[in-house]
Assembly symmetry: none
Homo-oligomer: 529 residues x 2
């Protein structure tokens, strides 16, 4: 099947955002959309314009700011209300005005839901589908129809469920997406029903599966094998209850197991990176066990396997992990650790291949630090400073910290203010500087940069652009370990540093010091030593 004939449709930002604890800002959504486009999906459902101010704003900004190479943006919404003309329904107008060239309309296809939830007649529901599709088609938009609760509807009242599909297609909808909204289906049921609907209606069909039976991916595959040519899912399987079908797993199965070509050539080589980047944005830690993209997905623990893996890795893995941008890892073998470090070192300009002793010292230190909570996967700048320490005999030093202190306080119910004091020596001067901010890290950042700037003017060009906190080892209350990642830019490049500590202020301080040190080295400022 050619790629153009198959829709890979992402609904992370709409149905995925129904997940408990998942909240996306407009800026989060713009960033996720860009990642999804890089991944090569065909359609990105951006939200429900008109239902809340954030989604309306997203579509307005997306039209101006997003530059999508592969993907088409889709706006989600409902069919018109009962008893109102489609043209007069403000929610339908919001879809029309969203600027999205595709509208995905959700419609009831289960008779009981029409009567009990929508509280209208079966005939009026069909009219709502017909009118809304026709109206949006006349306005120049492509329309996909999500048939909500389709499978339960089909089992309870087959004739009516089929009539909803026929009505939508006759009115101009391009595809009828059969939704297992409650998620209770099994693959053989999905396969049989999709085949029968296709046979009976001749409509182009899609599948939207939830994971309540642990079969979301298998249900999606069963639908595709039965003739569906439109597949919905979410990155990392986000979604309400047990989540939606994991889009990357589903697509990787189509590509690598069934030999279909539904994505741009080689695009899945970025899948692991993008799955993890999106989980940084949602702040929903990625599952190590996630198929294809999890950090453990190609990790081998059993010593039994280790020697055989060296003979032929394909004996013990179901595919080449590089195809999805992942890596094989041997959990008990030091060789594996060293190989990764050597590779990463080479990336950063350090040739460790000839120096087994240094390589093993660096590997040990990285392992020890990662056990303490550090992560170097994202924090290349901190890793490079670590390599300088171990390989070049020391990291560049531009200043000596004497002490730091930060005070945050509030009178009554008033807003909290923070003030930081940083004392350090640099370029023969002793500097004691205060910085203010709306929070302790903000105040420390100001104080540190104001002090160093007096000796190294380059620092004035650095500023912090992102700041991510993760509490590790949750369940230990405020005693838990905190990890902070900080992005700093000089307007040309951006670098990421990491700090770990017993609290956020301490962890942030370490990441701030690394950020300034790395920036000065990058600007080729001569260090003290």
């Amino acid at each position: 099947m050619a790629r153009a004939d198959f829709h890979v449709y992402d609904t992370t930002m709409r149905d995925g955002a129904q997940q408990e604890g998942l909240n996306l800002s407009v800026q989060d959504k713009l960033t996720i959309a860009q990642h999804l486009d890089d991944l090569g999906v065909g359609y990105i459902e951006g939200g429900w314009p008109g239902s809340n101010p954030k989604d309306t704003e997203f579509f307005a900004l997306a039209a101006k700011e997003l530059d999508l190479e592969h993907a088409t943006l889709a706006a989600f919404g409902a069919t018109r209300r009962a008893g109102v003309a489609a043209a007069d329904d403000p929610l339908v107008a919001a879809l029309r005005d969203s600027g999205a060239s595709v509208v995905t309309l959700v419609a009831k296809s289960h008779d009981k839901h029409v009567e009990l939830a929508l509280r209208t007649t079966l005939e009026e529901n069909l009219a709502m589908v017909r009118d809304t599709v026709e109206h949006l088609r006349r306005e120049g938009q492509r329309v996909f129809l999500d048939c909500e609760h389709f499978f339960n509807g089909f089992l309870d009242n087959k004739a009516y469920a089929l009539e909803v599909v026929r009505t939508a297609i006759e009115a101009g909808a391009e595809v009828a997406v059969l939704c297992d909204t409650n998620g209770g289906m099994l693959p053989h049921w999905v396969g049989d029903i999709v085949a029968e609907v296709k046979e009976t209606t001749g409509a182009r069909l899609g599948i939207h599966a939830h994971n309540d039976t642990g079969c979301a991916v298998a249900n999606s595959l069963a639908a595709v094998r039965a003739g569906a040519t439109h597949l919905q899912g979410c990155i990392n399987g986000y979604g309400e209850r047990t989540g939606n079908a994991d889009l990357i797993t589903s697509v990787a199965n189509l590509e690598f197991k069934l030999g279909m070509s539904v994505m741009p050539e080689g695009a899945l080589r970025d899948a692991t990176r993008i799955a993890h980047a999106i989980s940084e944005i949602t702040n929903y830690p990625p599952s190590a066990r996630q198929p294809y993209t999890g950090v453990s997905a190609f990790a081998h623990k059993a010593g039994l396997h280790a020697s055989a893996i060296r003979v032929d890795p394909d004996l013990y893995q179901h595919m080449d992990p590089a195809l999805v941008g992942n890596d094989m890892r041997l959990l008990v073998s030091e060789m594996a650790g060293r190989a990764t470090i050597e590779l990463k070192g080479r990336e950063l300009g350090f040739d460790l291949s000839g120096d087994a002793e240094t390589l093993s010292r660096v590997t040990d230190r990285v392992k020890r630090m990662e056990q303490e909570g550090y992560t170097f996967e994202a924090a290349d700048a901190s890793f490079e400073l670590l390599l300088m320490e171990e390989v070049e005999g020391g990291r560049p030093s531009y200043f000596d910290i004497e002490s730091w202190r930060v005070i945050a306080e509030s009178a009554g119910a008033g807003e909290a203010l923070a003030e930081a004091t940083v004392k350090l020596r640099a370029g023969g001067h002793r500097l004691a500087v205060i910085g203010e901010g709306n929070g302790p890290v903000n105040a420390l950042d100001h104080a540190l940069r104001q002090a160093i700037e007096q000796v190294y003017p380059d620092v004035a060009r650095f500023h912090l652009t992102d700041f991510r906190v993760r509490i590790l080892d949750q369940g230990h209350g405020t005693d838990a370990i905190t990890r902070v990642l900080i992005d700093t830019t000089d307007g040309v490049a951006t670098w990421v540093t990491v700090g770990v500590g017993a609290n956020m202020v301490e962890a942030s301080w370490k990441a701030l010091v690394d950020a300034v040190t790395y920036g000065l080295r990058r600007h080729e400022v001569a260090p003290l030593r």
Copy 2:
């Protein structure tokens, strides 16, 4: 199918323990075995006696200490080494001496693995299977055979894979378990192959599936539908790489979706409790999205659904959650309409049905606060305080804050220490108290509770058990909004509160104040007003 004719076989303690980061002590294993027996599984694979001292000790202690009602203990091990008589192989002897009435032997069934990993001949491998099975049968044990890499073997050399099955069964093995060891299979392949093996050999078959394609549960079901009558899996889907088939999900599908009876009547009503208890032992936090047993598995967020849930909960859930010991929950979120708020209010004991004005005021306020960064879907206690404010004319007040201040500081590269000062009025006293901690939030928590405890001794029983930070609107550096969720317990109940502010200290302070206020109200302490 009658229960006795179907094996539900748990391998959490053997194959599940191959998961990255999962380590079980002997005591852990004894406790898990008891939970598995309570759950009603038929077979518990306890480990590999002879391969390590821990597993040998487990079987010795299990024979003395475990009192199993439903389950039979199985010992896992390999066929004899090449060129050695089964009776002379110490690892085979350890299986015989384990005291387990069932031995599950793993054998190579993929020709390439015999030659490249085992480095023996195809004939010798068959002899190893035959000899070991016959030996253990003569010693009075029942034998199951795990055919490692069966599916890949079948595709590469069908005749040999089938010969391994036939050899084992002829030697007296009760069941041949077809293992998708590398986890790359899809359900229709598994179904077809199991059917063919059954047809060709007439052997009793089992299935052992891994989740590398996200299809472990579906692959297990496909095997059972094709005639397998022995199902292996792990609690919570533990296992190497992406994990093994989740045993509870698989079994719940057989019972509730396919109408089979494979577990003791009603036993799955304990499934949620047991899945969570075992995750406490493994210290691997349970996934909220786990099918059937996850805390989110029956949680509903969408406002769209809430009004209909009021009419008929079965419209929006695929089964009654009580059947697996879980509960339906309604989440309050920015997408929530009035219906969700009304239902949630009812859950918390507030009847808002007759008061449209209050209902719409609360709904508006929730939406406004969620736009500021609050989230109430997890923070029931903060939501209840908000309802008291809006419905009862004010939230209970136990103290008046005059001011708070926290200092975090560090000399040189030393560890950071924090000290907090809290000044407040309560019960006619003015209290000024300091608290110390390893971080600012920790110090503030100590100071606040030490102050209030002087007037309200109940507070001494409260303590913080979890603490989650999320930086909202990332991309604004340290100016971003911070949201903190805090879990507090009094040893009986646990409640969750939320705070939002320009920095983590301010946000935490708000959540701490809510936590103490809610706890005092819960203890029915009379407020100031």
